[in-house]
């Protein structure tokens, strides 16, 4: 039996992108329910009860975030939907927006109602250049049918949704950089406090939420927060979209209910469908490029020897030393012929390219790490380089304005922590490393179980 689907259930219904089919399939019920039978605070209460955690990467409880929003008299409040989706390995929001635009619009209307946002913005990464057309059409259809505009459903609630296109900058996914960018500025993250909930876009109280988070509000309102919270386990409630990529047979976007094992997710035909060409699993970055990479043996089982499950708690079991994170749900699989050094180099290059450059450790450190990794990858590394890399990442982490510094440091730290042999092999074999790979080595060997 597959997982329960709350978001993608109707994704394959022909014509679901258009309003008529979407409405016929039960769309916009949550708007009716919320606006006609609930107060804004009741909506927030349902979201709290659902246990929904932000799907943008940090996993912060959404209901709690909403309740922090300052509500000074006479000052507008804003909801901004974060559709910047630029974390390598992540492409789930794109899927939602492309195939189920009305689901997002529906979620946005209900959420705007809860927060009192009369102008709601979707900040979408510039490279998704064709998606604004899809969203704007859905917005127009919703408006024509009375779900947006003035006095929605006769309730006195006014709301407009606008699409704002970015122009190529991963950092604009960080919520305060996004706000700056929405204000027409460079995407430099702000120094907090003040937090957006108090002083966000145009200095007004603002909530920034991920696309998937806001779409999940629809089933929460339809089925009730209580019912939603019963799906999944522990603090990982509801369903989660995962975008799977790398060396797997069936890359794509999957909805899971956070009770299946990592092994099932990779090898079951219902999901990734195993690894092509009969190759073996070497490593995996389970939550987008920023989260720690794990070798096969630590991925499938925790250090305690338990089966690792695809949810927030289990993926982070073991902390940074022996675990990883759910992150943004970008699931990246490496087969036995992949080179961890090269993979780490491409990620270091990515973070160097995307650093806004405001703070010194990130601006200088990301470039330094990339240069050293390049040397190691191309057979010019020294053995002291590995420790130097370690030291640089350590000096970036925790010392920067925004978490991009951490995001740049973690992949390097985890790669060295778990794949040090492979780095050393590169350094010791500068010529061989140019022609062949270190291979699977011992990375899939059963681990000695350390009793807790």
């Amino acid at each position: 039996m597959g997982s329960r689907k709350l978001l993608l259930e109707k994704a394959h219904v022909p014509g679901i992108r258009g309003y008529d089919v979407y409405r016929r399939e039960g769309g916009y019920r949550s708007v009716e329910k919320a606006l006609k039978t609930m107060s804004p605070d009741q909506v927030t209460e349902e979201v709290k009860k659902s246990g929904l955690r932000g799907r943008g990467g940090a996993g912060f409880p959404t209901g709690m975030k909403w309740s922090f929003l300052a509500k000074p008299e006479g000052v507008p409040r804003y909801l901004v939907c974060n559709a910047d989706e630029s974390e390598p390995g992540t492409f789930k929001d794109r899927y939602l927006m492309e195939f189920l635009p009305h689901l997002l619009i529906e979620g946005l209307i209900v959420s705007s109602f809860a927060l009192g946002s009369k102008s709601t913005y979707i900040y979408i990464r510039g490279e998704y250049a064709w998606i604004p057309d899809i969203l704007e059409q859905a917005i127009a259809e919703a408006k024509n049918n009375g779900w947006l505009g003035k006095n929605i459903l006769g309730t006195g609630f006014d709301c407009e949704i606008y699409v704002h296109r970015g122009a190529g900058a991963y950092i604009c996914g960080e919520e305060t950089a996004l706000i700056e960018s929405l204000e027409g500025k460079r995407g430099n993250p702000r120094i907090k406090p003040p937090f957006p909930a108090v002083k966000g876009v145009w200095d007004c109280p603002t909530v920034v939420n991920n696309v998937e988070t806001l779409a999940a509000v629809v089933p929460i309102i339809n089925e009730g927060g209580e019912a939603y919270s019963k799906i999944g386990v522990g603090k990982s409630t509801g369903t989660k979209l995962l975008s799977a990529c790398g060396n797997i047979n069936k890359p794509g976007v999957y909805e899971i209910d956070m009770t299946i094992s990592v092994e099932e997710f990779i090898f079951s035909d219902e999901y990734c469908g195993g690894i092509p060409n009969g190759k073996r699993l070497k490593a995996c970055i389970p939550g987008g490029s920023s989260v720690p990479i794990l070798p096969a043996n630590l991925l499938l089982k925790t250090a305690k020897g338990e089966t690792r499950i695809m949810n927030y708690e289990s993926l982070s079991d073991g902390g940074f030393a022996k675990g990883s994170m759910m992150g943004s749900g970008g699931f990246i699989v490496l087969d036995e012929d992949q080179c961890v050094v090269r993979n780490t180099l491409t990620l270091a290059r990515f973070y160097r390219h995307e650093s806004c450059g405001q703070c010194s450790p990130c601006r200088e450190g990301t470039g330094w790490m990339e240069k050293i990794l390049k040397n190691i990858e191309y057979g010019k590394g020294k053995s002291s380089d590995i420790d130097l890399l370690w030291d640089i990442q350590r000096k970036i982490e925790g010392n920067t304005i925004c978490p991009l510094g951490d995001a740049a440091a973690w992949p390097v730290a985890a790669a060295i922590r778990h794949f040090r042999d492979e780095f050393e092999w590169h350094v010791a074999n500068p010529i061989a490393s140019q022609n062949r790979n270190f291979g699977l080595a011992h990375y899939a060997d059963p681990l000695e179980v350390v009793p807790a």
Binding site: H164, G184, K185, W202, C245, G246, G330, N343, T346
Partner: protein, 166 residues
């Protein structure tokens, strides 16, 4: 002197109206996109100054923004820009080989334009198509699951389009 058509100027007004009164600076990113489309695929100083005057900004505010975001071209580019992703997930699926293939096929390096001004090759970082790798952006759309054969077909298609439009 460059200038938007009346229709585009209406579009600019429409964009500015999305934001609160007096916050027209917020329209900067979308209007720069518009200017880049209108004025030859890149942003000349003249184009940026024009946008500054439309939105009542100091030119430096526009330069600061235009140089920050990777999608604004500050130099002329070829008619077709192949923006090939090279980040981890795409690399795992062979983007390096695709980049090499395009280089050799068009006989240009990264960041270069073919002498006929048709093609520019650029490497970019993750575009959110990791599951459909290797991939590239071509104009408004993504071309995914690239193979050498597909690259050949895309190049052919661009050439045909050019011939048809000239």
């Amino acid at each position: 002197m460059i200038k938007f058509s009346d229709e585009k100027l209406k579009k600019v007004d429409e964009i500015v109206a999305r934001y609160p009164q007096g916050k027209q600076k917020s329209a900067l990113l979308p209007v720069l996109h518009l200017a880049q489309e209108e004025f030859g695929g890149w942003l000349s100083t003249e184009a940026m100054d024009y946008v500054a005057s439309l939105l009542k900004l100091e030119p430096i505010e526009v330069y600061e923004v235009a140089t920050f975001y990777s999608m604004y071209n500050l130099k002329p580019v070829g008619r077709y820009m192949f923006e090939v992703c090279q980040t981890g997930p795409c690399m795992l699926r062979g983007s390096d080989q695709i980049i090499d293939y395009i280089k050799q096929k068009l006989n240009i390096g990264i960041g270069e334009t073919t002498p006929d001004g048709l093609f520019t090759l650029k490497t970019v970082e993750c575009l959110g198509a990791c599951g459909y790798a290797p991939m590239m952006q071509l104009g408004k759309h993504f071309r995914e699951h690239l193979t050498p054969e597909k690259v050949d077909a895309i190049i052919e298609e661009c050439r045909r389009n050019t011939a048809a439009n000239n």
